[in-house]
Subunit: 208 residues, 2 copies
DNA sequence: CATTCCAGTAAACAGGTGTTCGCCGACCTT
DNA sequence: AAGGTCGGCGAACACCTGTTTACTGGAATG
């Protein structure tokens, strides 16, 4: 362990990254269940057999993509909600963050949208689990205010689901708008209104 | 045209139906872009070439499935919203109808959920267009009350999108619950609350 | 009744697929 | 400097793919 340079591990990481990136590229106009192993390795420029050094199968690669796509989002949302107070500020900040995230990682978002109900069970379940954690995060952010006001935990969660689902839908819409900046702004405006309307409903909930 | 029995057309319709049904079955655990022509005709029991007598390609079959899956829904929603008045009644009636529809056509719903953002562009666009018409329908049902109250058309539409999106999400959740009746009831309860919360937000919208 | 029509067939084409095998050779260890 | 580790390679395995071709036989036509 004296003159270890980590060259070996670095090369392996690089190959793995190349596979993931090539997959994200190919998945722009097809779904995971139709993505071929040879098709993928051909794009990367490696032998088909080399794939197995990194992933058991395509589903395995898909799960890795899910973690990489949704893993960072959780902390991001938590930070935003913790720092801000008041609905409008929170909504504006989240919208900004989501828009920026989609702008930076469009292929990841496309992948999530496509495979959320896609044909590969392990991937579907991984996405479901990850989005569930996001709902928990949002629920936890609202609980301190709502629980004392008499909200049962299940109602807090149903609210959080509403928020998260809208975020996901909006992110998908952003992605589909591609480069069209006018369209993106229109989507953002609509989404802000929708989140605001939900927040309005939340404030009058206990009266019903 | 004297002794025409329509036997010919009837046989063709039957074959076409067999293809569509077999496709719905195979699409339960894969997506359209990975569904093979031979795989499909093998299940039906016909020669691969016979497929071309009915559809140009798989995308064409997919679009046909979209129309059959979503075509009837439009009129259904219109009728329900026209007959009822008051949020809770409307919500209960729609939830009942959606639950029943999913119970009767689970494979169709799965197909729509899977291909809504799937890898086949024409199918994606067909679903988008059909859901757009549904949004129009809902918007038209609310416009008579909201427009006189000062709602601009774009806001009516953003509300309709909120409602429709929630319906689609709920339908998907119903389908994923499969046979579990307890889970279905839980989903219905949550969805009713969410729709109610949105309606609550709607009633207080003009104040903001 | 002869004829046209046309859904469905079988066969062949030119590819493509996932997976396994033994092997090489550069990195890492001792 | 010798030997082990392991990411990547090339070849072979058995099989599946979409599409075109010329054809058959029962229904529709006049």
């Amino acid at each position: 362990m004296s003159h270890t340079c980590g060259i070996r591990e670095a090369r392996k990481r690089k190959s793995r990254r190349a596979l993931l990136d090539a997959a994200l590229g190919l998945l722009e106009d097809q779904s995971l269940s139709s993505l071929g192993l040879r098709e993928l390795t051909r794009v990367v420029g490696m032998a088909p057999a080399a794939f197995y050094r990194h992933f058991r199968d395509m589903a395995d690669l898909g799960v890795a993509l899910v973690e990489e796509s949704l893993g960072s989002l959780q902390g991001m949302i938590r930070a935003i909600l913790a720092e801000r107070d008041g609905d409008e500020e929170r909504i504006d900040a989240v919208m900004e963050a989501v828009a920026e995230h989609v702008r930076r990682h469009p292929t990841h978002i496309r992948f999530i949208a496509r495979e959320r109900h896609g044909g590969v069970r392990p991937v579907r379940e991984a996405i479901g689990a990850e989005l569930g954690l996001l709902v928990d995060e949002v629920a936890a952010a609202f609980a301190p205010r709502l629980t004392p006001a008499g909200w049962p935990p299940e109602d807090v969660r149903m609210l959080a689901e509403l928020y998260v689902d809208r975020m996901v839908t909006t992110a998908t819409a952003f992605m589909e708008a591609q480069e069209d900046e006018r369209e993106r702004e229109r989507i953002a405006d609509t989404a802000r209104k929708q989140l605001l309307l939900i927040s309005l409903g939340r404030r009058h909930w206990r009266d019903a």
